[in-house]
Amino acid sequence: MEHAHKEHPKYMRIFWILSGLTLAEVGVVYLPFPTVVTALLLIGMACSKAAYVALYFMHLKFEQKTLTAIALTPFIICIFLVFMLLPDLMAGARHEGAKAESHAVDTSH
């Protein structure tokens, strides 16, 4: 069975895209955007960088589509994980908030 991807994609193009996105990420941190905008931009850029690495360097783009589906499972499960942690977080934040109110003087240190 011969591999189909003897013809390699243009890796230097991917290199420049990834380097450019890294520079943009650092730039976004220094720019005075609102926190939500910064966070969304950063996560968006990180995900596109990860996608470029997986699709071109790890050759997912040239494999069967099923492998992409398999590779995506941890990301989907991680999104579920974050939502499963949310109730805990809200309970914790309420608890901390109550503590901070009653110990407002002590915590200022």
């Binding site: 069975m1 520079l23 650092v26 941190v29 994980l81 942690l85 977080l89 914790g92 901390e96 901070a100």
Partner: protein, 214 residues
């Protein structure tokens, strides 16, 4: 009629549907997927700890982003040399593959050196598993949860361990490559090594965003 054909088929020796090539590749993908879950769980736990804390130091006040942006760039470069090594051996060029594998190893070692330098500087600055620095990089006074240290060292340390493992893996494949094991027809082990190394790069991209930038 149908039954007899079924019987005929079962009389044949069972043929494994996965070839040695595809089995190795699938095995590495499965390992990487479970490893991605480990990192995902660590990052989700970090998010939970951070969101649950009454106060959290902004990471940019403690961690030097310019250095780690350089480390990100370094791993991207080593990913490129890794695919170039695979491209070389698939075209049958053994010495070119070895050169590129050597460069990839160099990138990994420099990355680990920079991480050691970063950790040393942070520990001197007062960021340990139980303490946090009292002065930020901007000179302002800072305070926050002491869990900053443990979460930071666990996640970057777990990634650093992966880079260390990757460098050893690269050295093993390079030694075999120098002995002439791999050819244009036999090179799937170089490709499997590449999958691991690019995954380590991919994870660092995520760590860089969630630990350093956000």
């Amino acid at each position: 009629m149908e039954e007899t054909t079924t019987l005929d088929h079962s009389a044949d020796a069972y043929e494994p549907s996965l070839t040695p090539d595809s089995l190795g590749k699938l095995g590495m993908w499965l390992f990487l997927i479970s490893d991605a879950m480990s990192f995902g769980a660590l990052l989700a736990a970090y998010g939970a700890v951070r969101a649950g804390a009454a106060e959290w130091i902004p990471p940019t006040e403690v961690l030097g982003i310019n250095l780690t942006a350089g480390m990100t760039f370094l791993l991207i470069c080593s990913s490129v040399t890794m695919v170039k090594a695979l491209e070389a051996i698939q075209n049958g060029n053994q010495s070119r593959m070895c050169t590129y594998l050597g460069l990839t190893i160099l990138g990994g070692i420099i990355f680990l050196g920079l991480q050691a330098y970063e950790w040393t500087a942070l520990i001197k600055h007062g960021l340990t598993l139980t303490t946090i620095p009292h002065q930020g990089l901007s000179g302002a006074e800072i305070s926050g949860s002491v869990l900053f240290g443990p979460t930071f060292y666990t996640i970057t340390g777990f990634h650093g361990a992966h880079v260390t493992g990757g460098v050893i893996y690269l050295i093993v494949i390079l030694i075999r490559g120098l002995r002439g094991t791999y050819t244009a027809a036999y090179n799937h082990k170089v490709e499997i090594l590449g999958l691991y190394w690019h995954f380590v790069d991919l994870i660092w991209i995520m760590v860089f965003t969630f630990i350093y930038l956000l």
